[in-house]
């Protein structure tokens, strides 16, 4: 018995009608980014946010920021400079938390992952070095760290990263998600600070510099600075 499936139908989807001119007759130019230099900004944030490509990514990021600053000085910018600074800060912060923790979650057996994570542990936080790869899930063995890590890798940090980019692109949902992820970040900060403080003798005292607690607190405080901005900014500008 030969079974033949239904003949494939060729479906032609008409192209979306796009306005070619504004009501006044002026041609409409559609741009991929809000600002022409946003490509530099995205490439710089994503590459330096990996931490592994940091030295190269930082150069691209600085070029992007300089271009955007010149645009502000020339008065040709669409996005406020404050939104550029705050969005960039939040996105790079999300990336540098997302990717290194992903290395520990998914790639703790790779040379690159082990080198970076245990090196960070020896410098700043002993939990990332002591008994490494000896826990049930591999990677960091400290239970509280592992719990925060999974929350960060699967929920908060990817959410923070995409919402910061949508915020930079002046999307309505970007502003909304920045607020949600800001509150979640506050939640993480309180819990993580408590975990770090309770395990201080094992984590900080065994690290080379012993200043990891201060280092992470400086940047994890970001919701304190960002939430007041998000709730007082002119919401009508985030309309894409």
């Amino acid at each position: 018995m030969v079974v033949t499936g239904p003949a494939k139908k060729k479906v032609t989807i008409p192209a979306a009608e796009e306005p070619t001119s504004a009501p006044g007759g002026e041609p409409v130019t559609t741009s991929r980014w809000v600002e022409p230099a946003d490509g530099w900004l995205a490439a710089g944030i994503l590459s330096s946010g990996t931490m592994l490509l940091g030295p190269f990514g930082a150069i691209v990021l600085i070029i992007g920021l300089v271009k955007l600053w010149r645009s502000v000085k020339a008065g040709t910018n669409v996005r406020p400079w404050s939104a550029t600074v705050i969005g960039t800060f939040c996105m790079i912060d999300g990336m540098i938390n997302f990717l290194p923790w992903s290395l520990d979650t998914f790639a703790h057996n790779s040379v690159l992952g082990r080198t970076f994570i245990t090196g960070y542990g020896r410098f700043f936080d002993g939990a990332f070095f002591l008994d490494y790869n000896k826990g049930a899930l591999g990677g960091v063995a400290n239970h509280s760290e592992k719990m925060w890590q999974l929350l960060a890798v699967f929920i908060l940090m990817p959410m923070r990263t995409v919402s910061a980019w949508a915020f930079l692109q002046m999307r309505t949902w970007g502003l909304h998600f920045m607020k949600i992820s800001g509150w979640l970040y506050l939640f993480l900060w309180v819990g993580y600070t408590m975990a770090m403080s309770l395990d201080f003798p094992q984590r900080m005292a065994d690290s080379e510099f012993g200043m990891g607690w201060w280092l992470f607190n400086l940047f994890y405080l970001s919701p304190m600075f960002v939430l007041p901005y998000l709730y007082t900014v002119d919401k009508s500008k985030w309309n894409r």
Binding site: T115, G119, T232
Partner: protein
Amino acid sequence: MHDVLILAGMVVADIAILAVWWFIGSRLVPAEQAPASANAETEKGVPMLHEVLTYVCFFLLAGLIIECMAMFPAILVRFGWS
């Protein structure tokens, strides 16, 4: 009596925490439902707040960029590949 004092203290603390969140929540209007008049707040000293926050976040951003640039090279120089 000892337990009563502890439990009463707990209730007071819980009420205080709830009150703080009521205070915060009642002053934060979601963007999607904000009336047009909500933007009038931008004229009440908010530009100064934004300027300060922009400076703070710019310095934090500079710190993050330095961290991104230095971390992995420092690990490789100090400890080598693991």
